[in-house]
């Protein structure tokens, strides 16, 4: 019950402090720019497509897939940033200001406060992704009737990645100040990002050491691996074969395994558990 009260409060805070509104407006601005760019690129690319019926269809679908995934890559980043920004200050800030004191003195478990916030942010992220992913996918669908394959599992992976980074942020926020939390999260994101690149190049050049660096980085923080798996899921096999797929900043040469998804889920659960425990033991 208390979990639900705190979740509702978290949601209300996002509305009252205009977080939801500004995210929505900027999201719409992004979608307008994206639609415009998508449209221009199709104009440019499609006349050069060969006349043959089949190859035209293949290239058209490949282009749509490429552009849709490029949009989703941006959305994926925005969702991570959104989750981290709104949750970085939530515990650290309320501990710092003392707002938390009157709440914790109530007959509630401290775990319920952390979990309530988690549920609230998970709801916000879901809402954000519905808007943004829906918007990006609608563009290709409206202009060309195109839908990427495996939408459900692809979007679920993107959502999992956003939840993962939000949970890690919440964990840090229960232990460190807001600024330190921000520093840690962006550091982790940087590791994941660079590690992902190095792994892709390594796979492309068949350099095992580089691949290993990527693997280690996705053990440190498995966020980028989730995106690469999502991109892989949403790219048709044919597009991958002919090399016009967009997956991450690079082509998805090295595909994260199921084990890595399981690892990411476990990582999330452990981060949340550490956050709950740290907050429960903390002097406020």
């Amino acid at each position: 019950m208390a979990t639900f009260i705190i979740a509702r409060l978290t949601f209300l805070e996002a509305i009252r402090r205009r977080i939801l509104l500004s995210a929505f407006l900027l999201g719409v601005a992004f979608l307008i720019l994206y639609t415009w760019g998508f449209y221009l690129m199709r104009q440019e690319a499609l006349p050069s497509v060969p006349r043959s019926e089949i190859s035209s269809a293949i290239l058209r679908s490949g282009l749509n897939n490429f552009l849709t995934l490029a949009g989703l890559y941006a959305v994926n980043f925005l969702a991570i940033a959104m989750g981290a920004l709104v949750s970085a200050d939530t515990l650290a800030g309320e501990i710092g200001s003392g707002t938390i004191q009157a709440i914790v003195a109530k007959p509630v478990r401290r775990a319920q406060i952390v979990l309530g916030k988690w549920v609230g942010f998970a709801g916000l992220l879901a809402l954000y992704l519905v808007l943004m992913v829906g918007g990006v996918m609608a563009v290709a669908y409206v202009l060309d009737g195109y839908v990427v394959p495996n939408v459900a599992s692809g979007v679920a992976l993107i959502y999992l990645e956003a939840l993962l980074m939000m949970s890690v942020t919440l964990m840090c926020s229960s232990m460190f100040s807001t600024l330190a939390t921000g520093g840690v999260i962006f550091g982790l994101y940087g590791i994941a990002f660079i590690g992902g690149w190095v792994e892709q190049f390594g796979a492309l050049l068949q350099n095992q050491a580089a691949v290993n660096i990527g693997v280690v980085s996705s053990l440190i923080i498995p966020s980028e691996a989730l995106w690469r798996r999502a991109a892989y899921e949403m790219t048709p096999p044919l597009a991958q074969v002919i090399g016009i797929s967009f997956s991450g900043p690079m082509f998805t040469v090295s595909v994260p395994s199921d084990a890595q998804i399981v690892y990411a889920v476990g990582y999330l659960a452990v981060a949340l558990a550490i956050g709950v425990r740290a907050f429960a033991r903390r002097d406020l």
Partner: protein, 304 residues
């Protein structure tokens, strides 16, 4: 009779610092208990330990007959934090609604209780205004309403009048008096000694996280009396003779001031002076203020 609060050697260390050295005290149910001490004496840390915000390093305590951390007991406690900050994007009513829900109060009881309390603290006209538009005094009032939502058996008020003007202070005093009449135990942490003097039944003086003295306020303030004697021919031997009633005798020309533990000494002093052929013009008893006592007990170093 169980005590509302009972602590035994409650101790808190933060790294190297000892914030509370060993707090041992009992607060009786239904009394207004004043917690006095200089800044940094560990008053707020003590309250935080009792409320479960800070984990004690050692020692133990019972609140309303249950050990610290009991959630059923927390449902019967009210708390107004010092430097309270609340979610200022909530309106006064939403804020009270949130805290009432956290007390797991039923919706209907909560609704009537919120109206009652907004009325009590005089904020009914501002009930739909967001807290960020409130003045410090208004925030303190809404914070106080928050602490009373659940009709608590025990209320902790940490500096409840610090942001208030005289009207607000009187309001808090009246509220404390009402609560006391209904049998609520109040643990009051305040710097405003005049406030404490008016409202409290008993006070504890603490310094460096230890109780120096616990005393009934009435006997404390009524008991100690300072007497000023204005008389002629007060010779040093006569003044020295006054030391049988007080060790604290100060002579200043035709005037002598001494502190006696109780008013019954006055007639004896007068008889003594007359017997010594002293012409007494005035013998004026003066009650010591709580502030004088505070400085006497705690010292002037402010606990630094």
């Amino acid at each position: 009779m169980t005590h509302a609060i009972e602590t035994i050697n409650l101790r808190k260390e933060f790294d190297e610092n000892v914030a509370v050295r060993g707090l041992t005290l009992q607060v009786t149910q239904g009394e207004v208990f004043g917690f006095l001490g200089p800044n940094g004496a560990g008053k707020t840390t003590s309250i935080k330990m009792l409320l479960g915000l800070v984990a004690p390093t050692a020692g133990s305590a019972m609140l309303l007959g249950a050990p610290l951390g009991d959630r059923a007991v927390r449902a019967r406690i009210g708390f107004l934090p010092e430097h309270f900050r609340f979610h200022d994007w909530l309106s006064a009513r939403e804020f009270l609604d949130l805290h009432g829900r956290l007390y797991a109060m039923s919706a209907s009881r909560l609704r009537s209780r919120i109206n009652e309390l907004l009325d009590l603290v005089g904020l009914t006209p501002f009930r739909d205004k967001q807290l960020r538009t409130f003045s410090k005094g208004m925030l303190q009032r809404v914070g106080l309403a928050q602490a009373l939502l659940n009709d608590p058996a025990l209320v902790f008020l940490d500096e409840p009048t610090s942001g208030l003007d005289p009207v607000g202070r009187r309001l808090v005093r009246d509220i404390i008096r009402d609560l006391r009449a209904r049998g609520t135990t109040i643990f009051l942490n305040s710097h405003l000694l005049s406030e404490v003097e008016i409202t409290c039944d008993r006070v504890a003086f603490i310094k460096h996280g230890e109780v120096l003295r616990v005393s009934e306020l009435k006997s404390l303030v009524n008991g100690a009396t300072s007497v000023t004697i204005r008389a002629d021919s007060l010779t040093p031997p006569i003044i020295a003779g006054l030391q049988q009633w007080s060790r604290d005798v100060r002579a200043d020309g035709a005037q002598v001031t001494l502190t006696v533990s109780d008013e019954t000494a006055l007639p004896a002093i007068n008889r003594y002076l007359v017997a010594q052929n002293v012409a007494v013009y005035a013998l004026t008893p003066q009650h010591l203020s709580l502030e004088d006592l505070f400085i006497q007990i705690v010292g002037t170093d402010g606990g630094l």
